[in-house]
């Protein structure tokens, strides 16, 4: 089925075509959202919003880009909006609440017996450090880095999604890596893990 047929079907509200589109791009959308949000439940929630927007705004799609590029763009925008909203919400949440939740999660991990639990704990902490470092990057660096690392998109593809030149994407990813290295070195020195 060609892309034009898919868009045509969506514009007419064809449910079968919509289902096919969801099945084709589901993994890609969830993966992109997960790369930016680092939480699978949130990523699936946002991915659902992405497909709803795709279905509703299909009539506005002019076909200037590939369907995947269009969907990536929506997924990135939705995820970044989710992060912004979450930041505002978290501002009102008490600090104690956040600490107790984190502590409960760590205790839960520690309560598991055996070497496997230690390995899981170390991996989880490592993953938390990396997520924190990625989250501290500026939005455009984080987007470019995530699309490159989680989705294996080429610089050219990222430039189409972000509507930037290839050179800009290259520079964004270079700076993102430099910043990540700085943050991870700082963490290594402070013995985060």
């Amino acid at each position: 089925m060609s892309e034009a047929e898919i868009i045509n079907g969506l514009q007419q509200g064809d449910e079968k075509i919509f289902r096919k589109l969801v099945d084709t791009y589901r993994q890609m959308v969830v993966n992109t959202c997960f790369g930016l949000l680092h939480n699978i439940e949130d990523a699936e929630d946002v991915a659902q919003d992405v497909f709803i927007e795709v279905f509703r705004s299909a009539e506005n799609f002019r076909g200037d880009s590939k369907i995947s590029t269009w969907i990536y763009r929506i997924a990135v925008n939705r995820s970044l909006n989710f992060i912004r909203d979450n930041k505002r919400r978290r501002w009102f949440q008490s600090f104690e609440n956040a600490v107790s939740t984190k502590q409960a999660w760590l205790n839960n991990l520690r309560s598991q017996n055996g070497d496997n639990a230690d390995f899981d704990l170390e991996n989880s902490e490592r993953s938390a450090i990396l997520h924190k470092a990625i989250d501290s990057l500026p939005e455009n660096q984080k987007t470019a880095f995530t699309l490159n690392k989680y989705e294996d998109l080429t610089y050219k593809e990222i430039s189409e999604v972000m509507e930037l030149s290839v050179a800009s994407v290259e520079s964004l990813i270079h700076r993102a890596k430099k910043n990540l290295q700085k943050k991870l070195y700082y963490c290594y020195k402070k013995k985060c893990i």
Partner: protein, 145 residues
């Protein structure tokens, strides 16, 4: 190569982004410097999380949930349309009626109660003779003391 230089280039080395000659220099330094080697291992392990996290398992009921959410949004939208009517028409109409009823009741109560005015003069309208304090206690006397 200095340790500081290596720290700046390590991530690019681990990602195979460096030219061959620079990569070789870093490899040589890592063989000689245990501290940098430990940091390189730490970086490698941390960055490997990215590979492990790729393609998380998606809920098998993703589409069912998506459909349910879309239907919920449609019904919520219909609900908001009836709410709009309620807010824009019914609420003002109710408050206008309430106001009119209040005015009518006020008029009725006011008309029923009649008061007789017996006195034309009130205590606040009474006149008092002017008291000249300067006569009873002149200022000159006060200054002379």
């Amino acid at each position: 190569m200095k340790c500081k230089t290596l720290h700046k280039k390590l991530i690019f080395f681990l990602e195979n982004d460096l030219p061959a000659r620079e990569g070789e220099e870093i490899r040589e330094h890592l063989n000689e410097c245990p501290e940098c080697k430990a940091f390189a291992e730490y970086m490698q392990q941390t960055l490997s999380v990215l590979q492990k996290e790729k393609s998380p398992e998606v809920n098998p009921f993703f589409y069912t949930r998506l459909k349910a959410r879309m239907e919920r949004q449609v019904s919520r939208r219909e609900l908001t349309a009836t709410e709009k009517i309620r807010i824009k028409i019914l609420q003002p109409a109710f408050f206008t009626l309430l106001l009119l009823a209040g005015i009518y009741t006020g008029i009725k109560i006011g008309g029923a109660a009649q008061t007789e005015v017996r006195y034309n003069t009130f205590p606040e309208n009474e006149m008092f003779s002017y008291l000249n304090e300067m006569q009873s206690e002149p200022l000159e006397t006060f200054l002379m003391e």
